[in-house]
Assembly symmetry: C2
């Protein structure tokens, strides 16, 4: 495969983490999900828990959006050190994440999960953007099996996390999370299965264009 | 391939028609795009031009939506002969289209382009739903090359048709056109190329599920 940064955006419980990890293993390239959180935590001095919670799931209030002029200050993914001081925590974390994602893409091929990486790297031609989604019931079953979430609460948990990811994505990018045109390839993991999703990404990412 | 009805939804100029036609040829199964329009025209007594224009691009007015209770009367895709008489032309055409799409899916494997077929056939497990999209510039170039649209007007033409398709889809299904979770596979034809889109559909549709 030629040099390629693969971003994986994913509905909660869709298997996107596993798919991204397996793709990275097949290609022998770095995989950034929790590792990205750890690096941001080290650089910012915040705890990994805070970075994880506020860096992808924070839902900005309407009042906050009005006061700051909404997404527009952040949509360009350009931040100065001075600006960062004046930001609220979720936007500070996003600034660190954005900076790191750009650095990682500059370094070489890798797989990056979540954190609006598709939008941060929108203008790079050596990136390939994937969205993984699936049926609500399957996703609920997966979070029960993999994360020990209570079965009765699982559907609610999945919906709530997706709602927050969508709100965060909207805040940062002013785009609709999960809208196919934001990505290069969108896969229904309930229909296709995890293994086939991996195969499809391996068959397409970095394979070049042409019609 | 086991029995499978493939629906292709597509942004204007994305090559979705060509992709669907090529997939159908490879599989030796019927292809419905203009043919669907012709059958609806024959059954309804309307001209093919009217069926095409009002059956996918009609944008219902806000007043009309309020007066009829919006999409809700049509979202179930259930129409009686009496109801149909009372409908406005675009909804009458949609009723004929819906009926025909269900008949075609019942008959056997085929490829159906557009006309909210993904939503009409949502509950059938033997259907596979694809969305094809691409970069605006590529799509504009394709409509210039394939349909002789004036180059200066091409981007506006493409945007306008997509806007109308999205509005029609919203009216009929109450869902967002192009939202990845409506489909099983979404492909960026600008990035992947027409040939690879065909290959990916052939490799996935009807291939069964499993993870």
């Amino acid at each position: 495969m030629k040099r390629c940064v693969i971003t994986i955006s994913r509905q909660c419980g869709s298997g996107g983490h596993t798919i991204g990890k397996t793709v990275a293993e097949h290609l022998g390239i770095p995989f950034y999900d929790k590792k990205l959180v750890q690096i941001v935590a080290e650089r910012s001095g915040l705890s990994p828990e805070t970075v994880e919670k506020q860096g992808e799931y924070h839902t900005p209030s309407l009042l906050y959006n009005i006061a700051t002029g909404g997404y527009s200050a952040y949509a360009s993914h350009q931040y100065s050190a001075e600006n960062r001081q004046a930001m609220r925590l979720p936007d500070q974390i996003n600034a660190y994440q954005t900076e790191l994602i750009k650095e990682l893409a500059e370094k070489g091929s890798c797989v990056i999960v979540g954190r609006c990486a598709d939008s941060v790297l929108r203008d790079r031609e050596d990136c390939f953007h994937v969205f993984i989604f699936g049926a609500l019931q399957d996703r609920a079953e997966r979070v029960v099996a993999e994360h020990g979430i209570d079965a009765k609460a699982a559907e609610g948990h999945v919906r709530e996390r997706d709602k927050k990811r969508a709100a965060y994505y909207k805040h940062i990018t002013d785009k609709v999370w999960g809208m196919s045109s934001n990505y290069d390839l969108c896969l229904n993991s309930s229909r296709l299965g995890i293994d086939r999703c991996v195969e499809l990404i391996l068959a397409t990412a970095g394979a070049g264009t042409g019609s």
